[in-house]
Symmetry: C2
Subunit: 200 residues, 2 copies
């Protein structure tokens, strides 16, 4: 499976394409950033970033897009821009019929380094090692995008298993409820109508 | 001038098209909402809303798009969706070469009702009156979108005047600095080189 990982941002939007093989084997296909000049108007900046992200989608043909989930605990202005970029990236994916998954920074860190509290440097070191890269991807946004892609490849099977288990549990609960209802109705029929048919 | 006002939202995105005439005269062209089902995935919802907003842009051909500026002081989850919608709307405008303006809720309220603290009901009442509508636009998001459009029409000339005044002030400052520099250089030349040409 091929994943496009996106670390959304207006000034620097990290992009990383990762292929997943058997088990936990992963390979880096491409890594980079989409940039937009800070002096441009917001709408123009969104267009610049969206155009580059769409070029990556059409060039590398990922089967799924993994985007970092944005939280609003940081700088308000930055977060709004980041959320807007994540929106235009998700829209571009939906237009191409690609599924979109969101992963939180903690989920990415935990998947890559085993700890949800790893710092940016540790994530870069780990992703460089995991993908067997000759040198660390720069800037950090590019490394984060690769980490997102790997996180998705490693989490997706687990999330699928959980979803399947939940579906089975729901199905079992439905069957169980149906059986109880059938038993209750059978008991009622055996007992006969309590008030007869004249209540209307 | 024709404005498309957009009150961004995933569940209900308010849309209002307003024409501005001479002075403060304004007329309602169209009003409504773009909706997306809450049970759909985020990317699908963004696509649903974006498609409808783009249909409005192509149908009503506004010359400018006015979007409510999102703040993150409310519910985090809602705000992220709202920011993402505002991003896809701004992108759609940029793709069509339309300028995009952002106005805060307080600016809209102040422009429409004279008070930045007016409540939703007051805004609806005022916008119904201003546009001479037979009945109040519903839901509130639709009324807010019209209010945004009128706010833009009424603020835009003022904002243009401010921008022009600032440009003139900047130009005057540049001229002033250039004159000072020229005077200093002239004085220096008159005085002659203080240390001669042998300092190197």
């Amino acid at each position: 499976m091929r994943v496009l990982g996106v670390d959304p941002g207006l000034t620097r939007c990290g992009l990383g394409v990762v292929d997943g093989g058997k088990g936990r084997s992963v390979a880096c296909v491409a890594v980079g950033v989409a940039r937009s000049p800070q002096e441009d108007e917001l709408a123009t900046r969104l267009l610049t970033v969206a155009t580059e992200v769409e070029r990556w989608m059409d060039l590398h043909r990922p089967q799924v897009v993994a985007i970092e989930r944005v939280f609003s605990q940081h700088n308000v202005r930055t977060v709004m821009g980041t959320a807007q970029v994540s929106g235009v990236v998700a829209l571009a994916a939906a237009r191409r019929g690609l599924p979109v998954a969101f992963h939180t920074p903690s989920e990415v860190k935990a998947a890559i380094s085993g700890s949800g509290r790893a710092d940016k440097k540790q994530v870069t070191t780990m992703i460089t090692k995991i993908l067997g890269l000759a040198e660390a991807p720069k800037p950090a946004d590019a490394a984060d995008a690769l980490a997102l892609g790997v996180c998705h490849l490693w989490r997706a099977p687990m999330m699928d298993r959980i979803a399947q288990a939940e579906a089975r549990a729901a199905e079992a609960a439905r069957t169980h409820r149906a059986k109880i209802k059938a038993a209750q109705e059978k008991a009622q029929r055996a007992q006969g109508p309590r008030t007869g048919g004249k209540t209307r």
